[in-house]
Subunit: 582 residues, 2 copies
């Protein structure tokens, strides 16, 4: 670490010679691999952007000049050069520094970012603020080619292009999204690469940007030259740089999709150092869909640029063939298209992570629910989690279950997940969301196959005094609460509500007879969620209601154990609260 | 009505000669003006698309061939030609037929649509469904130039372009959005018009479409020729037609913005036939912002393509000058840009209608709330309403108030609205949403100026037994309930909660002393809303809670009186329920 030792801020980068910068790049690569191999993280995007980041800090003057990193999958070199190298070198540092840009870490970060396609919009706001205030710095957005498929990126480009003042958009074209790219714009990027930026038919010029192309986007020298040329431009500029994703680490170059993000691994062999064996919902879901397509040729699996998140490897995608559509990172398109696929007589199944579903509230409401088309949406990674603040899975139920016409199902176990999914795909009446449970558990009750009686809860065990409504992933927690209550001499009723999106009035009414307290357990935020519907229902009755779920807050890499304690989501704390309430 | 009399379905259109089609066009125009002048509606978009719609039905075979109308502001001629002319000719018919496409009205409509920029995405789903099922019809999306600024439109184009099979996107370029267009793409459209489609730098070709241009987009003959040429194309085609917005009605041609949509008017004079005088929140908001900008040069007003909805006429926009940014119909950009404006030291105030805010859940959460930037959002047209199903204002509170960090304020009166707005603009701590109240009423209590104690409710009158929490627009309803209760010998406590997004534990706790029942009144859907938070809070206490608001459902042009009765939102019905609950 001859050079990295000396670099504590961007000012230190500017002191180095070209040869020293080249050496620094290799040290940064080693630091990135060190972190990724130990705690996991984004590999390929960061390795490919090392030279460009060095050149940015060499030419521009952050924090006066403002950098905005799209999705910030590629912010590691920037963090290393802005006083946070410990986050890549030491175990203690790794805990402190997040994998995304984060203004509370450094004045060199302008936004917390973890969803794609936002950088140009955010940069356009910084640029407008600068102009309004009569300031004169550069505003630079760095966006990957994969993020260009998102509508917000386009809205940003469309506006940045007519800003009339300085904004520099750098398109980091590594010819990859998380997986391969999908969409017409990638034909244009290819044409531009093939013509070294000379093709007349140029999407960015069409929008009004001054455009410049750099083939060797991993050459620090050429990048510095390019950035110097456009620094302080008084108009919108788009710099298209061609880089190599994963550069410097053979495995990541050879298998770009697998190495976009990775769990901890051995640097030498590339093998994972954590055990991921065992049954999982990616395999379960894929096998179900594959078999279903074999029986029903109208089934179409839809995904928005994150096939790997659902275990849909290139091999599996090839098996699904024309029954798999990746729309690129374009969640709005995914929902609208799914609605129309259903309208057209197909059985669309859209796979989306909880936090990315946030992109689609309006499409869920207007394009899908209002039209009441029978598209199916599978929500993955839902639930309270130790994730970083940008990828929390606790908000989807509150967001989606309050939209009319949507039937939101929360299965408790593998068996029930498959039953619900199969029912959802088979019916033609409702848009249905199915949330993947957190653990692959066996059902200890008779799982039903037909969910066409909307909002009918399943009473798993009839008891008295206390009724526990244990929703979806928290069914197991409900079982534990049941056991603890039994130890206290209470034989509670245990209910599997199944439906996040509505209440079973008959069931709730019947509980009034022999119960004093209804307890709701949901793996998500309480505000706007399931439990509050129950609390409202019992508002004027004698029934007491106690709701358990997460607080309305953004948490950032807080261990699950700590969150469960904070929210009283351990069986012991729940029972303690129950005993107090009785 | 020589020809319109004979046209009851698209088949009848195909029988007419060119001269007859021309005459039919004029009869359709008269029918459109008849409806618009009597009940209000979209004027310019429909008048401009008459010829293209005739040509579409002449060449294609709906419903086998599928038309998808973007935002469906321009669907009147289509409705007239597909068996729904009564909706434009008779008073009774006008009540039955909505102003938007509606599958329950006709098999010629594929989707209920009222938000922009969705047509290409929806059409791509229909096209994929056709391919999966081995069918062979045409799928046609008709999208206006104004809608092309929206991210979902881009996501749709990006995907449609690589569909590999038939999809025909018609860009109806009338050189106008609702107001003037904003964004780089409009430079490209201008270039294409100027070169009659010959310019090499072509956004649509860049994406991969076969492209064709028609200068005379109001010539039935040329449109028929164009559509025949591309009918049954086996690949994605984009037809750029240049039309005249408002064609055939002088006022609408001369003032395109004012005549995009209009209230009932006198056809001859163009004058409104309804009285819109009196104080209104558009004037109030504009005057506040204008004066604020005079004092504070960092204030920036942001809007996404709907300035007229907030009374921001061209004159007023000119006054605001560089302190007004119209991002085009691009709500995601508006929120992200506002967040960044705040980050950059400005005071952004984004004006958005309740139903269009739905486009921005993720931007509100990730770009704004997670970053906790102090942007201000003014929500207009919020509340339970008699609007069509696509423009309901009852969902925004449930959608936005459950996002962490967002402070959602619901003022009760003009005075409080201005106080809250001024506080929001002056502070640097929170993203703040202010919902415009429904009526311009005077406050009958001392309005506070400082709202920095987040979630502190204001007790307007201390009483006992019953506490009425009358939120925002429903404060007046709360007053009426108070009066009726007094007649029954109850002196209730009246509370102005002010904060939609959180609970005042101290206030709620204090009510336990002398109250049996807390009543919540909110002008929005109950599911996920304000009342449920109160119900959860009192879940294990003796306090009864009764929540009033709307049911979770899409309603379509249901009179407000009927909705209020349905939801028990009249003072009498509320008091009846209260008396039952006590």
């Amino acid at each position: 670490m001859t050079y990295l030792d000396k670099v504590n801020s961007p000012a230190d980068v500017k002191k180095l010679s070209m040869a020293e910068l080249e050496a620094l790049a290799e040290e940064i690569r080693a630091a990135i691999l060190n972190r990724d191999s130990k705690i996991g993280g984004h590999v390929g995007p960061n390795l490919g952007i090392v030279e460009a980041t060095i050149a940015l800090h060499y030419v521009f003057d952050s924090p006066k000049d403002k950098f905005v990193f799209d999705v910030s999958h590629q912010c590691y070199p920037h963090k290393i050069l802005t006083g946070r190298k410990d986050g890549f070198l030491t175990d203690e540092g790794m805990k402190k520094i997040s994998g995304y840009t984060c203004p509370s870490e450094s004045e060199h970060d302008n936004f917390v970012v973890g969803h794609t396609s936002t950088s140009v919009s955010l940069a356009s706001g910084l640029a407008k603020a600068r102009d309004v205030k009569g300031e004169s710095h550069n505003v630079i957005a760095l966006i990957g080619d994969g993020s260009l498929s998102g509508g917000e990126a386009y809205e940003g480009l469309n506006n940045a292009a007519v800003l009339g003042s300085n904004i520099i958009v750098i398109v980091n074209d590594n010819e990859m999204s998380i997986a391969e790219n999908h969409g017409g714009i990638y034909n244009n990027l290819r044409l531009l690469r093939q013509t070294r930026g000379q093709a007349e038919c140029n999407m960015f010029k069409a929008l009004g940007f001054e455009y410049d192309y750099l083939e060797d986007g991993n050459s620090i020298e050429k990048l510095i030259e390019l950035f110097k040329k456009h620094k302080d431009a008084n108009h919108p500029v788009l710099l298209h740089i061609h880089t190599l994703k994963g550069k410097g680490y053979e495995f990541a170059v050879e298998n770009k999709e697998r190495w976009h993000w990775n769990l901890p691994f051995d640097i030498k062999s590339g093998e994972l150092t954590v055990d991921i064996s065992g049954e999982n919902y990616n395999d379960i879901t894929y096998n179900y869909l594959k078999n279903k397509i074999a029986q029903d040729k109208t089934v179409v699996v839809v995904n928005a640029g994150t096939p790997g998140a659902f275990g849909l490897t290139p091999d599996r995608r090839a098996v699904l063939g024309s029954h798999f559509v990746d729309v690129g990172i374009a969640e709005e398109q995914a929902v609208a298209m799914s609605s129309a696929l259903a309208k057209g007589g197909c059985k669309p199944v859209y796979l989306v992570y909880s936090s990315f579903a946030q992109r689609t509230y309006d499409q869920l409401s207007q394009d899908l629910a209002l039209n009441n088309n029978s598209a199916v949406i599978i929500v993955g990674a839902g639930g309270i989690s130790a994730a970083d603040a940008t990828h929390l899975g606790c908000f989807d139920m509150a967001m989606m279950s309050n939209i009319p016409n949507i039937v939101y199902l929360a299965p408790t176990t593998k068996e029930e997940y498959l039953a619900m999914l199969d029912w959802a795909v088979g019916q033609n009446e409702h848009p249905v969301i199915v949330r993947i449970p957190s653990a692959v558990e066996k059902a200890d009750f008779a799982v039903e196959k037909d969910f066409s009686q909307i909002n009918r809860y399943q009473t798993v065990k009839q008891g008295e005094k206390v009724a526990v409504l244990a929703l979806g992933s928290f069914y197991g927690l409900g079982k534990k609460v049941e056991k603890l209550l039994q130890q206290k001499g209470i034989e509670p009723t245990l209910i599997n509500p199944r439906f996040v999106s509505g209440i079973d009035e008959k069931c709730l009414e019947s509980l009034k007879d022999k119960h004093q307290l209804v307890v709701t357990l949901e793996d998500g935020v309480l505000d706007g969620g399931f439990g509050e519907k129950i609390a409202r229902y019992y508002g004027v009755s004698q029934m007491k209601v106690l709701c358990f779920g997460s607080k309305k807050e953004f948490t950032d890499r807080v261990p699950l154990k700590e969150l469960y304690e904070r929210y009283h989501l351990t069986p012991e704390l729940i029972v303690e609260d129950i005993m107090k309430a009785l």
